[in-house]
Symmetry: C2
Subunit: 199 residues, 2 copies
């Protein structure tokens, strides 16, 4: 009577959904949202165009799903470092984590960076700017411990630094010396690992 057991359907659906998301992520990150057609996604995912609309109600909703996934993953990674008590060590851990993310998931990083520069694309669905600014505030607390007025500039500097390195890595690719820059930024902002920081 029942043709397939529910969990079998669930597995099939999950697999197809994943194929669509993976193909879309790659295309959105490399070509941008507008330059990517539904046909492109279907071909890259190895499925038909119609099937995509069995899983997502529109092109925008695919974008939104990827965006949510990326933000969720980023937040989880970030929150995983919350248990580090010492502020300097925590700062260092977060910086290293960001570099890891750039190297391990450049697709997500590229996707988010590209989207950040196309406000018109996200504007309809998510208040991206507000979201990003909130994230910066969280970063600020995480990195400096408290919201010391003087330390805000420091946080913004580190944030800009990381964004700039990310941007250059996206543009230049593997030839960009990520590791050396990581050492440099840690040396700059986490001190020479001795004493309490003065001035």
């Amino acid at each position: 009577m029942a043709p397939r057991r529910p969990e079998q359907f669930e597995a099939i659906r999950e697999k197809s959904r994943e194929k669509i998301l993976a193909a879309s992520l790659e295309l959105f990150a490399n070509k941008g949202y507008d330059a990517t057609s539904i046909d492109n996604i279907a071909k890259k995912a190895g499925i038909s165009k119609g099937l995509i609309y069995n899983y997502f109600e529109s092109k925008k909703s695919i974008l939104l799903a990827i965006f949510d996934d990326a933000m969720k993953m980023g937040e989880e990674l970030l929150m995983g470092q919350m248990n580090i008590k010492d502020p300097v060590l925590r700062k260092k851990a977060i910086i290293e984590l960001t570099f890891d993310m750039i190297k391990q998931r450049p697709d997500y990083v590229k996707f988010l960076t590209v989207m950040a520069l196309q406000p018109g694309v996200m504007a309809d669905t998510k208040d991206f700017t507000k979201n990003a600014y909130k994230k910066t505030e969280e970063w600020s607390k995480l990195i400096t411990g408290k919201a010391k007025k003087e330390a805000v500039i420091d946080t913004l500097m580190i944030g800009a630094m990381m964004d700039g390195i990310t941007l250059n890595f996206i543009i230049y690719g593997e030839q960009y010396p990520l590791d050396e820059l990581k050492q440099e930024i840690i040396k700059l902002y986490c001190g020479p690992e001795k004493k309490k920081k003065k001035k």
Copy 2:
């Protein structure tokens, strides 16, 4: 016999061309290339669609014209600082110049940044990556004087810093404290203005 004098036509043409370029720059910078239609440009410029093709042979050629203008302006500004002999002062001047450019021509800066992240758009017409990398090399020489191996990281750090600040300014807008960050980066990379730099 002769209806209008050539210089009158020239003035008219220049004005229209300028309207098209101005409208395109604003739209490309804010919405991106693919999301901007020829109709959008025509409406914003207050002219008809057909007239655009009296001045540019394709949508891509508009993009290219803006790109060339932006690069030309940037290069002229940069080369204007070449006469400063002292490396530290020159470095400082270039950094300040970059901040000035961000504040005075955010449209150009935004345009270039958006285009840098859409390799597919520029790929057909200009080798953007190569161009950008060459620019970085020039920067390196300008900033460090010579191509000291150790100083490359320093140059890349400053470059990433500036790019990151630019990116954040584009995203956050006027609330982003450009001036404070300028002071900070000058303090960091141009030394406390005393003695010769050591280590």
